[in-house]
């Protein structure tokens, strides 16, 4: 797959950059755009972004490795992020994680061989009232139990 940016993506990047007085400030949103378009941010993408924003590659690198939401390898079609922080674990978050591991047959941080699911353990998602909770791509699911998870997984296509 070519890593060149499509004109549409470049246009969106230009749009985002207009929000800031300098190009570097647009780095985070631009990286998010790249990730949403390509699924992850490759080293090549980092370089292209660096050129677009007039930055040294290292400036992109240090940012990409700092923030946890930037993926540097391909993720599954459905990125399941399960909260393992306090409120969720008080409400049985560990069980949820165990269930997902068993059900998907992968460990935390892995992607299923069919490329469908990636399982990640994350810190607080800010939905403690629905603990235990998880996020699939950008959709929240709360008050989970194993049965509900099975239903959710079946609903994912």
């Amino acid at each position: 797959m070519s890593r060149e940016f499509t004109p549409a993506l470049k246009e969106r990047i230009e749009g985002v950059l207009a929000h800031y007085p300098n190009k570097q400030a647009g780095l985070l949103p631009v990286l998010r755009l790249v990730q949403s378009e390509k699924g992850f941010i490759s080293a090549e993408d980092e370089r292209i972004v660096a050129v677009l924003l007039g930055l040294r590659p290292i400036k992109v690198r240090e940012v990409v490795t700092f923030y946890t939401l930037f993926a540097r390898k391909p993720l599954g079609k459905f990125h399941i992020q399960v909260c393992s922080n306090l409120s969720c674990s008080l409400s049985g978050g560990e069980k949820i994680l165990e269930h997902l591991k068993a059900r998907l047959g992968i460990r935390i941080g892995q992607t299923t061989p069919d490329g469908k699911y990636t399982l990640t353990e994350v810190e607080c998602l800010g939905a403690c009232e629905q603990a235990p909770c998880m996020m699939v791509n950008f959709d929240y699911y709360g008050n989970l139990d194993p049965e509900k998870i099975d239903r959710i997984l079946e609903g994912l296509k």
């Binding site: 080293a43 980092e46 040294r56 590659p57 290292i58 400036k59 992109v60 690198r61 240090e62 490795t65 700092f66």
Partner: protein
């Protein structure tokens, strides 16, 4: 612009009244008053980081423990730096730092025994044992443990298990012992503006390194070594000297590699010069160096090919002989020839003492006028022009104060780095930068207006600006057409330049090496009439200005007086218009082949690549003392670091001035009675009127030599071809050798190799990076071949190559010979591929 001196204020540190200049931090104020506050991450040139937390102090009226590195000292402040609480606190933090720094030798029970009985040095990366780290005995962290008095560790030592990195030239990295103080990162980003190093990841996984885990070379590292210099631990260490252990001491000396004259610290161990580092000298380099000064000095001095004994051609053999025999033979040969049948060429890399002794030997002792210097090759445009340039106020330090900088053909990555750091400083203070450079340079990124003329037309642009600023009539459309720079860019540049009150004009070495630099000379003279203009003409050949003052040219004697009549010089020798009986080459070898003569004497630090009749081994800068004149006219000292007795082990090298004196004495008996370089210096002061009586390192303005300029018309007709070939002067040269042939790391960087072309041009010719190409010009009568290298910094349609000014040690570049002797620069050529 009037610069206000900061006011002096007073405060109390540890109940003692102290004074400090307004605006400094508490940490600096304490330092200035001799109060030690521990710190691992702060540095005078770097922004505060607040990482190590060791510099916390107690300040009356402030909550908690403010950081002294980030608290501005104020009138009347009351600071305590060493209370029981602070001591406890620092111990605890230090324990944490040490938990991630596997160097148990700091607190090991057997530390004393270990030091006493340390027999060998283990080089393997092991987690235990005091010799894990190359920095033992010269480590800031170790000192700090000592000073804070930490004797026990509460935490087990955690070893990250990063692989030590040995792949880069010049220095090794072991991030297992890195304490993440961030000095290297800030140095790289803030002072050097390179941004090769950065923090990646976060929290306990934070690691320092170049982007993408690439090597430093790929990441654009300039190998200035500033990061190594500021590293408080052994995480970054010089390859050459890392296992030498703690040096016995150091001398402050002057770097002999270019005309900036950076102040360097030469460390020595067991009587041998071991490593060089930057000296914090606010006058010139202020703690910064380039790759040459930082890393290349020890290898140039101690390379295994170094010639250490006098040698004579005896029959069919070239034999090592004693000094007595060599001197006797050379003296005998010189006695038998007429003064006009002899000529000497000296290198501009010699000290003033050696240059002076050389000309005295030739003029007084041999009665010849035939002394010339290869400085001519460095000072393109003629000695008259340069003596005028040297009569202007030149100040490297003041670049930082400029409000507008005009940089012509300057790339400060691997050469003249110090100038680059000053430019950055000025830019940080809000200065504007106008760049004239056909090539992309490291400064082009910061530039406000970048003009990319055709190579060779920089002088025209400069003349346009000079004339416009002087209020003369100029022809803007014509200039735009001739230089291929568009009109709006020119207007913008002119606007910026006109706004300047403090203009700095920096001229890179390339510009002086075009065959036609009439416009350049004119424009510099015009600009010089402008008030507050700081000229920085850059050239290689460390002591070329000294060569002018010492008078080692046929037409110029000591003190710049023109000696009557013409002698035989470089040009006659190189083009062979007069055959000489004896030629004496000191330090430089401007030939590929042995020049035609009966007796060839070479006095140098390495053997030349062709047959010589007598070889006299000279001392390097580290082995002989003396003085150099930098481009600003500062007379700076080169300190003798090594002074071993002559012998089979350490060699029989002698300082150049001493060899001349020895020869003179063999010839005439006691005519040059020099025992030390000081004796020569004394005579220089008597003979050269403007030479300072005392070494004060003050910049001086030279008296312009009134010497009729010989404008040589361009030789030959204009050649036709698709590409423009530009010869760049070689930057890695010292005393007749190509430094990269002796310094492995520099060789790896291969900065001057091959024909550099834009990748687009390489593609359009159907070539690949590394293919061999043939260049032909003069209707195909002359051609030369070599490998092509993709270089995105080149403009389209232009090929760059490096033309050395001296050819010693350049065996592998011989196929380029037809290019080296070309008179035209730049020249149009045709390109074809060699082979299939």
């Amino acid at each position: 612009m009037a610069r206000k001196e900061p006011r002096t204020e007073t405060m109390e540190i540890n109940h003692r009244k102290v004074s400090f200049p307004e605006g400094v931090t508490v940490h600096r104020a304490a330092e200035l008053n001799g109060v030690y506050i521990p710190s691992l991450c702060s540095h005078k040139d770097l922004s505060p980081f607040g990482g190590c937390r060791l510099c916390m102090v107690e300040i009356e009226g402030m909550r908690g423990y403010p950081l002294s590195c980030n608290t501005v000292a104020q009138e009347g402040m009351k600071v305590l730096t060493d209370t029981v609480m602070l001591r406890e606190l620092r111990k605890e933090i230090l324990k944490l730092i040490l938990s991630e720094h596997p160097s148990s030798c700091l607190v090991c029970n057997e530390r004393t025994e270990c030091q006493d009985y340390q027999g060998t040095i283990r080089k393997a990366g092991v987690t235990t044992g005091c010799r894990f780290c190359p920095n033992d005995g010269q480590c800031e962290l170790q000192d700090l443990v000592e000073k804070i008095g930490l004797t026990e560790m509460d935490y087990p030592i955690y070893y990250h298990g990063y692989e030590p990195e040995h792949d880069d030239p010049f220095y090794d990295r072991d991030y297992n012992i890195c304490i993440l103080c961030g000095r290297c990162v800030r140095m790289c980003q803030e002072v050097r503006g390179t941004s090769v190093l950065a923090f990646t990841y976060r929290g306990p996984r934070v690691k320092i390194g170049p982007a993408f885990g690439r090597s430093h070379t790929e990441a654009g590292c300039e190998f200035c070594g500033a990061c190594v210099d500021v590293c408080p631990t052994g995480a970054l260490a010089d390859k050459v000297s890392k296992w030498d252990g703690k040096p016995d001491g150091c001398y402050v000396s002057t770097c002999p590699f270019c005309a900036i004259g950076c102040q360097i610290e030469l460390y020595h161990k067991n009587g041998r010069f071991s490593k060089a580092a930057a000296n914090i000298d606010p006058e010139v380099n202020d703690g910064q160096l380039c790759v040459k000064g930082r890393f290349c000095l020890p290898e140039v001095t101690h390379h295994f090919e170094r010639a250490k004994k006098p040698m004579l051609q005896k029959g069919n053999y070239f034999r090592e002989v004693s000094w007595a025999e060599a001197l006797e033979r050379v003296a005998a040969e010189l006695k038998g020839i007429q003064p006009d049948e002899f000529a000497m060429l000296v290198s501009p890399d010699l000290t003033n003492e050696s240059l002076f002794a050389a000309q005295k030997f030739v003029r007084d002792c041999l009665g010849s006028r035939n002394i010339d210097s290869t400085a001519r090759l460095e000072l393109g445009g003629g000695l008259g022009l340069w003596s005028k340039l040297f009569s202007l106020p030149i100040s490297i330090k003041n670049i930082a104060q400029a409000d507008v900088i005009l940089a012509v053909g300057l790339d400060s990555r691997f050469n003249f780095s110090v100038v680059g750091t000053k430019v950055r400083k000025a830019l940080d203070r809000g200065a504007k930068l106008v760049t004239i450079d056909p090539r992309d340079s490291n400064l082009a990124r910061y530039t406000d207006d970048w003009l990319r003329p055709l190579p060779g037309r920089e002088g025209l642009l400069l003349k346009f600006f000079a004339d416009s600023l002087a209020g003369r009539i100029t022809d803007l459309p014509w200039v735009a057409e001739e230089t291929t720079v568009n009109v709006p860019l020119l207007e913008r540049a002119l606007e910026i330049l006109s706004s300047s009150k403090d203009l700095a004009v920096i001229i890179g070495p390339q510009v002086f090496h075009y065959d036609n630099n009439e416009a350049l000379g004119d424009s510099l003279m015009t600009l010089a009439e402008r008030k507050n203009t700081n000229f920085i003409p850059l050239y290689f050949g460390a002591n070329a200005r000294g060569a002018l003052e010492m008078g080692v040219f046929p037409e110029i004697g000591p003190g710049g007086m023109s000696s009557r009549g013409q002698g035989i010089g470089l040009e006659e020798i190189v083009n062979g218009s007069k055959r000489l009986k004896a030629i004496y080459l000191v330090g430089d070898i401007p030939f590929f082949e042995r020049p035609d003569c009966d007796f060839l004497i070479v006095q140098d630090i390495y053997l030349p690549p062709f047959k010589v009749d007598a070889f006299l081994p000279a001392s390097t800068f580290a082995e002989a003392g003396g003085t150099l004149v930098n481009m600003e006219g500062r007379v700076q000292e080169v300190v003798q670091v090594e002074n071993p007795p002559e012998g089979a082990v350490m060699g029989f090298m002698r300082p150049d001035w001493r060899i001349f004196a020895d020869l003179a004495n063999s010839l005439k008996g006691n005519s040059m009675n020099y025992k030390t370089s000081q004796d020569v210096l004394r005579e220089i002061r008597k003979t050269v009127p403007d030479f300072p009586a005392r070494l004060g390192r003050k910049p001086r303005r030279m008296k312009a030599i009134d010497h009729p300029e010989i404008h040589k018309p361009t030789v030959g007709k204009t050649s036709e071809g698709d590409f423009l070939l530009v010869a760049e002067p070689a930057g890695y040269r010292h005393r007749g050798i190509d430094i990269s042939s002796k310094v492995g790391g520099l060789g790896e960087l291969a900065l001057e190799e091959g024909f550099r072309m834009h990748p687009g041009d390489i593609d359009s010719l159907g070539l690949k990076n590394g293919d061999r190409i043939r260049l032909s010009f003069d209707n195909g009568k002359v051609s030369a071949g070599g490998a092509v290298r993709a270089d995105v910094e080149c403009p389209r349609g232009v090929i760059y190559y490096t033309r050395p000014v001296v050819f010693g040690g350049l065996k592998h570049r011989r196929e380029l010979l037809p290019l080296y002797i070309l008179k035209q620069n730049p020249i149009r050529v045709n390109v074809s591929r060699i082979g299939t």
